[in-house]
């Protein structure tokens, strides 16, 4: 009995020593803040962001006392660094208003989809949820379909480039920086859906290759079969001032190619984006797709797919 007691005491003492020593290992989280530009949003919006987002998404994170206790602090430090790499409200104000707006739309969508604040953060910090009223305030401010909502923010439209020659299909040899191929036939594929995006004034046509279309016809998209490909074709939305919105200039085409094994590290999908008539592969390096996976993560129950395909007359139902 005495032996057990001794062992227990030793363990507790060793544990305490480790615990105390662990407190000394403290990666610094507050970073030097440069000239701070305020986010271009009204006070009530900024207050919500400050209250609900800037505990982590900021150069000066505001942690609870228990977040400061290692080893929990180490997890928190990791999360804060990750949060800032995605969206840092201390820096957002220095970006162009249209970029700020796009980031706020993504933030609102992450909140709406339940991805933010992180579920683990919410579990450890009761009352940290964004309330319905706060979400409504953010949405009312962003007001995606307000007439001229973005007009003041958009620079003059770029001159319309001459249409590409149909004889030469550009980009046929392109490949994304992460090795996802370009599919020159995307415009010949059948339509899965269209979307009207008030958040960035674009219209989109989403087409699917035969594998994807068959999966919709057979209603077998949970998960999507390997070799399914979607092309999200984005055009600028041109409003005639009376609410008639037409498709304007081609902006970009994005692909999602399903291969559960090959793309296991990126949710089972190869992501690619080609911009402009030059079809320039998007991104600075092969890790550009972290941006894609980050945004698609909340849709994991839908095999990471946002598009709701228009149902098709079935075959084999």
């Amino acid at each position: 009995m005495r032996g057990w007691l001794k062992l227990l005491t030793t363990l507790v003492v060793v544990g305490l020593v480790f615990f105390v020593l662990a407190q000394a290992v403290r990666p610094e989280l507050v970073t030097s803040v440069g000239p701070k530009a305020e986010i271009a949003a009204p006070l009530e919006v900024r207050e919500i962001l400050e209250r609900r987002c800037e505990q982590c998404h900021s150069d000066e994170p505001r942690l609870s006392w228990f977040d400061h206790v290692a080893p929990a602090y180490w997890l928190v430090a990791h999360d804060v660094r990750e949060a800032r790499s995605r969206l840092n409200f201390s820096e957002l104000g220095t970006k162009p208003p249209a970029v700020q707006r796009a980031e706020l739309f993504e933030a609102v969508n992450m909140i709406q989809l339940g991805a933010m604040p992180l579920p683990s953060y919410r579990a450890a910090h009761p009352g940290s949820d964004v309330t319905e009223e706060e979400l409504a305030t953010l949405k009312a401010y962003l007001n995606p379909f307000a007439p001229d909502g973005l007009a003041a923010m958009n620079a003059a439209p770029p001159p319309v480039a001459p249409p590409p020659s149909d004889g030469v299909r550009k980009g046929a040899a392109s490949v994304s920086l992460s090795g996802v191929p370009y599919f020159p036939d995307y415009r010949d594929w059948k339509v899965l859906s269209t979307t009207d995006r008030g958040d960035n004034k674009t219209l989109r046509i989403i087409t699917g290759n035969d594998v994807a279309i068959r999966a919709v016809e057979q209603r077998k998209t949970d998960p999507w079969p390997d070799q399914s490909v979607f092309a999200k074709i984005t055009m600028s939305a041109v409003d005639d001032g009376q609410g008639h919105v037409a498709s304007g200039k081609f902006v970009q085409v994005e692909f999602m190619l399903k291969d559960a094994q090959k793309y296991a590290t990126t949710q089972g999908w190869g992501y690619a984006r080609y911009k402009g008539d030059e079809l320039k592969p998007y991104g600075a390096d092969k890790h550009f797709d972290h941006e894609c996976t980050g945004c698609h993560e909340p849709m994991r129950d839908n095999d990471y797919v946002y598009t709701l395909p228009i149902a098709r007359p079935g075959v084999g139902r």
């Binding site: 969508n109 594929w189 059948k190």
Partner: protein, 159 residues
């Protein structure tokens, strides 16, 4: 109940709860397909099998329309030529609804109408209009204006 049993029960409950928490959400059809927007009425042409030429939105009416063309129409359009005999354009118009997955996005809801322009040897195409629920052919007099409007839709140039 002994203390040991209680502890065991708590641990088991904890495991059960955490496994439930991690499980994939049970999806229903509306989470996976936009059934409301399906175009499956008997129509003279399989418009949803065709390629899209452009898409547009009418904010006042709360509708979204996509212009499709059969092979002959698509080829002529891409070559910048007039639509030859046999070319058919199909304009499908849906009511719009909010995209449940993305605040700031709208997508098609129920189809409101399908209009076809059938090009023949003659000067003007034949206008046919299907509307209602289920979609049925209409005998309306708005043909000439609609032909002008549909032909006026600028086809998207895709690289």
């Amino acid at each position: 109940m002994s203390l040991r049993t209680r502890v065991l029960a708590c641990v088991m409950c904890g495991c059960l709860l955490s496994s439930v928490g991690c499980r994939k959400k049970q999806l229903v059809a509306t989470d996976l397909y936009n059934d409301a927007a399906k175009v499956d009425a008997p129509l003279p042409y399989p418009v949803m099998e065709w390629q899209a030429l452009t898409t547009s939105v009418d904010r006042g009416a709360g509708t979204t329309s996509t212009l499709f063309g059969n092979d002959s129409a698509v080829m002529a359009s891409r070559a910048g030529q007039a639509y030859p005999a046999g070319a058919v354009l199909g304009l499908v118009t849906w009511r719009q609804k909010d995209d449940p997955h993305w605040f700031g996005g709208r997508m098609p809801d129920a189809p409101l109408g399908v209009e076809f322009l059938e090009y023949g040897a003659g000067q003007a195409p034949v206008y046919r209009h299907f509307a209602g629920s289920p979609l049925a052919e209409q005998t309306d007099s708005g043909g000439p204006a609609r032909v002008t409007a549909i032909e006026g839709m600028k086809v998207v140039r895709l690289p």
